[in-house]
């Protein structure tokens, strides 16, 4: 994947969003939108570093970042993240991952811990939208509230 580190505007925007859907294969499909310069900063990379699509480590770095900052539990059992891909949409990046559910999804309690950029920015807002066939739920997480629980 290709990305470029760019400086944020001074009225800084510290937002990420996370869209969660249950698919037909009993998996949670999760799509993240995170600003590139923020994620680069969180990874300790120079903001002016230009990474091109020959940089093989970029996907691995994002996967490591998400594993560290996002935890999803089904009925108190942590689910394993499966990284799919990242697509730049400057100034942000869209990343898709999956979590295989342990058993039949319906009725399960899902708990999502989202710590994305919470330590880096005191005003970080992390939106979570959950959608299945029957309903849509929306949550706003931040430094004070880093987790949500809902039933599938």
């Amino acid at each position: 994947m290709f990305w470029t580190g760019t400086a944020s505007a001074l009225h800084d925007i510290h937002v990420s969003r996370c869209d969660i859907e249950v698919n037909d294969q009993n998996e949670l499909e999760v799509t993240f939108k995170i600003f590139l310069d923020d994620i680069q900063m969180a990874m300790g990379l120079s903001p002016n570093l230009e990474l091109d699509d020959t940089y093989e480590g970029s996907d691995m770095m994002i996967e490591k970042f998400l594993n560290k900052n996002l935890k999803i539990y089904q009925n108190n059992q942590q689910l394993k993240l499966e990284y799919i891909e990242s697509t730049p949409a400057l100034p942000a990046v869209w990343t898709t991952v999956k979590y295989k559910l342990n058993r039949e999804a319906q009725g399960s309690e899902i708990k999502v811990y989202n710590y994305i950029l919470i330590d880096e920015f005191s005003d970080q807002t992390n939106l979570i939208d959950f959608r299945n066939n029957r309903e849509k739920k929306s949550f706003v997480l931040n430094k004070k509230k880093t987790s949500v629980t809902f039933k599938l």
Binding site: H11, I13, V140
Partner: protein, 190 residues
Amino acid sequence: MEAFMNYLQLGLTHILDPNGYDHILFVLTLCGIYTFNDWKKILILVTAFTVGHSLTLALAALDIVSIDSGIIEVLIPITILLTAVYNLYNQNKASHNVSLLYALTAFFGLIHGLGFSYFFRALLAKDESILQPLLPFNLGVEVGQLIIVLFGLILSYIFINLFKLKAKYWNYMISGLAIILSIQMIAERI
């Protein structure tokens, strides 16, 4: 309903964000020379600002208008500077051209709306329609605006009515502070 309230909260917290206080400073400066007795003028000013920023927020969110965020980030403190200078030159409220002020305020609202739109677009999902979140987000901005106006009027009441500070000195304070802070913001953003 949940999503509606979330976007309303996001609009509200965005305009009230002390880390990005340019919008707060603009609204405070706009109402800087007025008191509770001038509520009708304030209402028209705030409405003019609302019309302006709602228009460009919608147009930018729909991708009909697109201006580099760097330019808008410089223009916003310029609107603060011009408003503060206007206040200082029009201390006698009876003499100033109110229609010009309303028109200027609506125009400045267009610029601030573009500023709001960058944050708003960051909130959207990949294929999400903007119409559903736009209304509550804008409503949140309006509520935040009213809170800022109320705060400004309470401050002016405290200084003018309780501390007996002359209105013109209150204007000097607010407009002077706005000039200093806006010049600093312009210098940072160029």
